[in-house]
């Protein structure tokens, strides 16, 4: 008789329908993303311009500090383009990671009143960051025209590296978001990760300045692989990607995603009780 029931909730059992549910709730995912987008630019005076100004100003400062003052090697490309091509994935990562990490706590009213697969909430932050990314990307186009820089055919591989950036930020985002529900300390940890990461990752300089013997170690930071990949795709220069390091970065970001999802799924059912 119980076989007739389409859903059985039992203590301590993970649900069989979880991934099917995520698909079933895809419209909710779209609506929540749409809400985030709408809310983001309501009541901001210059609206969309923020997603242009932030990377642009950071790029100018970095070009000045790393390019002019520190005289880092420019790999034969205009320094602003060198910085900006790394700024794009970094901004994407830091935005979506920060948003995803805080998303559950920010949406605690939803978590405690409505059922849906909770993975949807941190995942929506990808969408807003992606839109920002597209806007910022158009600035890269302007920079290229300004400096008369012609990208090579490799730029077509860019979506692939964008996917790796998504995987990295989602993996870390899921993990921290779940931790944040129980331990609010992580609210303070996130800005640190983002700030240190900006200087530890090869954003203001090319990772070729790292001595060869340290590059594998340097690639433990998954964003190194993502950023190198972006530069390679956009600038089309050989030698920007250090292959063993790149593989390590990608493997680690996949591992982070895996751990993130496992931890998230494990703690998900207690979210409503502790949030």
């Amino acid at each position: 008789m119980s076989s007739e029931f389409i859903l059985v909730i039992e203590a301590g059992k993970t649900e069989r329908h979880y991934w099917k549910d995520i698909w079933r709730f895809r419209e909710l995912f779209l609506f929540l993303s749409w809400k985030d987008l709408l809310v983001r630019y309501k009541q901001t005076v210059i609206g969309v311009a923020w997603s242009v100004l932030r990377p642009l100003l950071t790029m100018i400062v970095f070009t000045f500090v790393f390019g002019r003052l520190a005289k880092m090697p420019d790999e034969g490309v205009p320094y602003p383009i060198l910085v900006y091509s790394a700024m794009l994935p970094w901004q994407f990562f830091s935005n979506s990671f920060t948003e995803a990490s805080n998303s559950l706590v920010a949406n605690s009213n939803l978590v405690s009143k409505i059922y849906f697969p909770r993975l949807i909430i941190p995942t929506t932050s990808i969408i807003v960051s992606f839109v920002d990314f597209l806007i910022s990307f158009s600035i890269l186009g302007c920079l290229m025209v300004w400096y008369g820089f012609m990208p090579s055919i490799q730029i077509l591989t860019l979506p692939l590296f964008l996917i790796f950036a998504m995987i990295t930020s989602l993996g870390a985002g899921y993990f921290i978001a779940a931790l944040n529900v129980k331990y609010r300390d992580f609210r303070y940890v996130i800005p640190f990760i983002v700030q240190f990461g900006l200087y530890l990752s090869p954003v203001g300089f090319s990772s070729s300045v790292i001595p060869e013997k340290w590059r594998l170690l340097y690639s433990i930071n998954p964003m190194v692989g993502v950023i190198d990949g972006f530069r390679w795709a956009i600038l089309g220069k050989e030698g920007l990607v250090y292959l063993p390091g790149f593989i390590l970065s990608i493997a680690l970001s996949l591992l982070i995603l895996f751990i993130g999802i496992i931890y998230f799924r494990k703690t998900e059912k207690t979210f409503a009780d502790v949030i």
């Binding site: 859903l7 609506f31 809400k35």
Partner: protein, 430 residues
Amino acid sequence: MSDTVIKVENLGKKYIINHETGAGGYKRFSEEIVNFFKKTGKAAIGRNTKLSAKEEFWALKGVSFDVKQGDRIGIIGRNGAGKSTLLKLLSRITEPSSGRISLNGRVASLLEVGTGFHPELTGRENIYLNGAILGMGKSEIKRKFDEIVDFSGVEKFLDTPVKRYSSGMYVRLAFSVAAHLEPEILVVDEVLAVGDADFQKKCLGKMEDVSKSEGRTLLFVSHSMASITSLCNRCIYLSEGKVCADSTPSDAILKYYSSNLLNTPYHMNYKDFPKKIGDDVVILLEGSIEKLNGEKTSEIEIHDAFCIKMKYQILLEANQLIVPNFHFYNEGGICVFVSGARDVKQMTTGIYEAICHIPDNLMNEGTYFVGLAMTSYMPTGCKVNFFELNALSFNVKDPMDFRSARYGYTGPIPGVVRPILDWEIVKVNE
């Protein structure tokens, strides 16, 4: 039988109350780390003492019942009896600690009005967002959009951000979306407690329609016995996490009230409650029923005047009038009357006591429940600061002496009130 849509077996939900960290559910990471080292340290030297007084609390235990398709089930019980926990388990928001629930049909839950409403978004945008959150698809919302707007009566403000709405409009819009849900099983928590009476009736009517004509199943938590009796065909009475009655609404309500008689006191001290009752403006401290000689009691003679007292603390001085009011209900859940304090002036912070004098010979014999409430009135509108339904109870008794005009009749005299009125009997010569 094949028409059983919900089967609940031996359901339980356990919460761990951590006395050390207080009421906060979330912990600081540093505490966990310190605890971890303490634990391992103690284990290393062979001691196994408990670090903090962790106490298990079963919000629900051993709950079993079946629901058939088209059932409209009311769930009643005192605060903390486990009603909301049951709904949360049924709607999969939280996981049971024991037992199982088998569901046959799509469940939509309405545990709060306007979940996910975003103040910056317009009414139109919020209808779509809220609809999606409650489980409607985009095409479904589009199809019902006009109907929803019609029902809410806020057409004019559809493109205004809801943060500019009055609280009444906000609630109406939120309800309208929810009222148009069409799941096989609808789970509703006490959301009808807000909103004006007319609109409440409209929503109840809509829910009844949907349930009766389309055979949908409804689970409905309410403190309003009148709504339960009019809407439901079956009622579950929960007490301390267990099912105490599962029968017709009138039987369950009777049982609820008769058990309340034993439990509801004539004096309540809220100061020691773990959870403060009230908000940042005013909190409830104490409530009592007293005879004129100052004796606290629940037994009142019909010919005696008595008073209801409430102590409260004003925490914040603002441009508002903070008005205490008492709500009197009889055993049938009928509101006998509501009385609010008159001539309230603006008050400074501090502890106050409100005393409401009930005249003699007002209420008929029977048991009455008093709800203690506080409402603040601002130039922009009013707000309920707290409302403790059925906080106190008292029993009105007839000493059966000459004052009762019984002339030897000892049976019950019907009616909610029983005033002594002036009569004249004159002989007419014709």
